[in-house]
């Protein structure tokens, strides 16, 4: 029986993402966390089959909530909704490339900040300037997270053999030939 390399890759990338996201602090100068777990879930949504992507989204959400002091289904529910949206957008234009993944993670980070704010009351006024300021920081953090997360997941997929980066002379990926 052939081992499904998606499982060890998912465990590894989620673990590294959780560790880095937890360790990199939100400083007074940049008060937003780099959402690497969201980036890993989005990479899975763009490149993996449905059951794998949904499971990774659930794990990423659970880790974010458990380590961030949020209600335990808050981020998982958000990532499942994003998965649905990503699958719809994939029919139109979205692909699992680094650039599109980075931009997608930045958008998701902004939406996640709003979603989290709806779930927990931090005592701050929502319709205020500082909310816009915070959303701006979230977008910047999302750009960084998307770049790092998609690079990490892509590397892990290539090293594990999930995706073959070699190209034929006419430019078609080996991975494309399996579809």
């Amino acid at each position: 029986m052939r081992l499904d390399m998606n499982l060890p890759v998912a465990l590894f990338t989620l673990f590294v993402a959780a560790l880095l996201q937890d360790l990199i602090p939100a400083t007074p100068a940049f008060p937003a966390k780099i959402g690497l777990l969201t980036a890993v879930a989005l990479h899975a949504a763009l490149t993996k089959p449905m059951t794998v992507a949904l499971t990774i989204a659930l794990w990423a959400g659970g880790l974010t909530d458990a380590l961030g002091g949020l209600p335990l289904v808050c981020t998982s529910a958000f990532l499942w909704l994003v998965y649905g949206a990503v699958r719809l957008l994939q029919r139109v234009f979205l692909e699992g490339t680094l650039v599109q993944g980075t931009l997608l993670t930045a958008c998701a980070a902004v939406l996640q900040t709003v979603w989290t704010r709806l779930w927990v009351d931090t005592g701050e006024a929502f319709f205020a300037w500082h909310t816009l300021e915070r959303l701006g920081y979230s977008a910047l953090a999302g750009l960084v997270a998307g770049l790092a997360g998609f690079a990490l997941c892509g590397l892990a997929d290539r090293l594990s053999g999930n995706v073959k980066p070699a190209k034929e002379s006419h430019g078609i990926l080996w991975a494309e030939t399996d579809r």
């Binding site: 602090p25 499971t55 659970g62 961030g68 002091g69 005592g123």
Partner: protein
Amino acid sequence: MKQSKLWIWLLVLTAGALLAWRSGLCDFSREALYPYENACLWFERTVWVRVQAVFARAGNASRNAMLERDVARLRIAAAEAEALDAEVARLRDLLEFVPPVACRWQAAPVLSRGGTTAVWQSLRVAKGAKHGVRKGDPVVVPDGLVGRVTEVSRHTSEVMLITDPNSRVACELETPGEGVGVVRGILYGGGGQPLGGDPQLSLLYVVDPLRLRYLARDFEPAPRTRVVTSGLGQTFPKGLTVGYLLESRLEPNGLSREASVMPAADLAALDEVFILSFKGGRHAP
């Protein structure tokens, strides 16, 4: 097909665990990351510090001389404190005064700040139930109060900072000569609500001051008055420095006064904190 079944099983099991074993999952995730976060801390404190030392020997020499002077000064202070302790003990014996419950403190290195989301103002420290830490234990640094322990796993604890919007600390102003109850209030954590005004767009990030509410309306405290814990909340012992008063004004309802307070400790730059544990349970001496 089999691989798809495996993922479906994993999905169902994870969903079940999320719904049925919530607190256990939180502890499990914290404990799973603990060894690696501790390894990062060890690397920073032993290896990285030495690498930095290679490039900063001159600075270290002057810092060392300054620390030696501090140690000498603290030795004198400790000797004076010993004499005072003996005197206090003798006077307590004379008065048959029951001393407050003893507390012990232990140093705890900071593992991470704000968890994975930074929604809450919190720290994770590398001391937990194994070291005798319990929920509600106060956390301090030499400059002042930091917060309280809110979650405890085997090796780690979550600390809610006094700047968290959910934080409430019973405090009083150190104002000699005023009557009891005149200068007591409740300190509220930050939350982007400046004193008596609407939030405004700020280009530079400024630490939100804390709000000390329900002070007596007729007493106007002077700026830079020291704010200390009153011990009335049964969580923090009396007399811990919390911060310094910036300004005060009447609350909109006119019944009491509120003040803005700047925390005494630099909460954004904590590397190590001290957890106070009371042997006989919660106590306000």
